[in-house]
Amino acid sequence: MTPPVGGREREGGFVLALVVLMLFAIAMASGAGYLVVSAESRMARHSGESEEALAIARGGLNRFVSEQLGVVADSARYAMGNGEAAVSARRVAEVDEFTHMYFVRSAATVPDPLAQGSPSRRVVGAYAYHRRRPLPLHGALVLSVADISVENPAEVSGDDAGGAVCPGGAQPSITGAIAREGVAEDGTLEGSPEYELWPGGYAQFMNQVALRWDILTDPSFPVDFEDVRPPFSTLPADSFPVVRLNGSPMLNPSWSGRGVLIVTEEFRAVPSFSWEGIVLAGWVDDRVRGSIDGMLVGGFSGTEPYDEIEVQGTIRYHSCNVDRANASLSYLELVDDAVFEID
């Protein structure tokens, strides 16, 4: 007799059914758990990417505003973190001759590797003043030293030397020289008034001049030329570049030119050096030589090795040189506490 097959088959089927049931239960529970966890994970990731996009948008906005020197760029793109910020600027009003209002918009996207084509996106906006005359017209020679002596035959003049050549004609005179305690003249000292005293020292100097020296001398702050002679012969005649010289180089005629000259430490020049525009210096040599048609402002570093400065060259206020150089120094300044989110 052959053994009955049916009974064994039923027994086998019974065990199989149990296994299938268990597998089904485990699969159901695992599936439900997976769905809950994956949904949570996806939401958390989206939330994180959205926050990152917002941070990138704000970062892009701030970077754009801080990098603008001179003419405001229409747009810029920055790769930051896991995303990118696209920043654009539009002039919305000329408040006055030296202050324009810009709207700056920064749109940031952070791609989601699991959902191509639907990146997290956040947009922020802000208004910013474009300060087109960052250096106030206090005087042709502004130093934070105690005393200035204008030697013979040197000249310091606050009268507009550009009256005959500047498009707008002669502008009102400014002060000739400004020092902390005294200004003496053996040579020519002119202006309206001839001199002023700022007894408040370095604090008053920085408050009145109101330039961010720390930014202008920061190596990461972009300027047109750094430690190289600009090729003035190939530059447009109306260009007034920003030139930064680190340290205390002796400026000879090969450095002569126009624009904004930033000397991070001591301004030293030979008599044949000449500059059209604005010279800004950490401090100045005790003998100021050369010829400047514009303005010389020194003393930003807060260290003054010399009590008295002898002027042996020529420093004359030149309105259109100063205005053009000032325009090259113009910068954007966000309206305080008014950044807002768009969309």
């Binding site: 049931l21 202050t99 008014a338 950044v339 807002f340």
Partner: protein
């Protein structure tokens, strides 16, 4: 023959007992898994609920400008947040006090139905002066606004004429402080968030959102009785339950403690609770 082809009673009983044991084991596992999964679903629901509520509140709170919180209580928070911020590019004169204003995207992009009023920015100290003022009175259209701004203040209106709009502020709104060229204006919404007994899930609490002049809407149910708002003043490290009116401008952070609770379906099981606390730093705080 029968003993060969069938089961004995003992064999059948043993098989039955063994099968029962296996079945009990499997079903217990299944039920435990099921209960765990149900618990997780409740927890996830509570989590989602308070997180989405937090997202919504934080969007309005974080973008609010200085002085934007007008009521700061433990269970009531009223905040004014920008619908749009613009810059005046041309000013009219007289009683109408028209101002042509640049708004990114113009009125078309604004949720004008949410506008509760207008605020002017004081460039000297960064403060905003708020005035409740309906949009239908303020709306002066945009037909010639861009052209006026281009002529008067050299605004760049290229491909953006729709971004300029006329606001009719009248002498009543903002009075003599109506903003000048180059100053900012903000069209704001005013929203009140309250923690009150839920209409949808009594006896729990719920978070209600009430736009200006509208009825409150319950948008996050299942809030626990420990939920509250907290506020930090600039320069302080701890959060307070309420802030007096005179100090509202100094709030620099808001704490949302929106603990959630999901009631269990049976009396034997405990409620699912979810503690949730978020500190929101105000972006434009002093």
């Amino acid at each position: 023959m029968n003993r060969i082809h069938g089961f004995t009673l003992v064999e059948a009983l043993i098989a039955l007992v063994l099968s029962s044991l296996v079945l009990i084991l499997v079903s217990t596992t299944f039920l435990v898994q099921n209960r765990y999964q149900a618990n997780q679903v409740l927890r996830a629901a509570a989590h989602d609920n308070v997180r989405s509520a937090t997202d919504l509140i934080s969007r309005e709170l974080r973008s609010s400008m200085r002085g934007g919180i007008v009521v700061a209580g433990a269970r009531t928070l009223t905040v004014r947040s920008p619908v749009a911020v613009g810059s005046v590019c041309e000013r009219g004169s007289g009683f109408l006090a028209d101002r042509d204003v640049h708004f990114d995207g113009g009125a078309a992009r604004m949720a004008t139905e949410e506008i509760a009023g207008v605020a002017a920015h004081d460039p000297a100290d960064g403060a905003w002066e708020y005035q409740l003022w309906p949009w239908f009175i303020m709306d002066g259209g945009s037909s010639a606004s861009a052209a006026r701004c281009a002529t008067a203040t050299a605004a760049d209106t290229t491909d953006a004429s729709e971004d300029f709009h006329t606001l009719r502020l009248l002498a009543l709104a903002l009075g003599s402080d109506a903003p000048d060229v180059g100053e900012l204006v903000m069209l704001f919404r005013e929203t009140t968030f309250t923690i009150e007994p839920s209409d949808l899930e009594p006896p729990m609490l719920a978070l209600f959102r009430q736009p200006y002049l509208e009825d409150p809407v319950e948008f996050a149910s299942g809030i626990d009785s420990t939920a509250r708002f907290g506020y930090r003043l600039s320069g302080e490290s701890s959060y307070r339950d309420t802030i007096p009116e005179g100090d509202l401008d100094d709030i620099d952070a808001v704490q949302l403690q929106l603990d959630a609770r999901r009631l269990s379906e049976s009396a034997e099981e405990e409620d699912v609770t979810f503690g949730w606390s978020t500190n929101l730093l105000l972006r434009n705080a002093p």
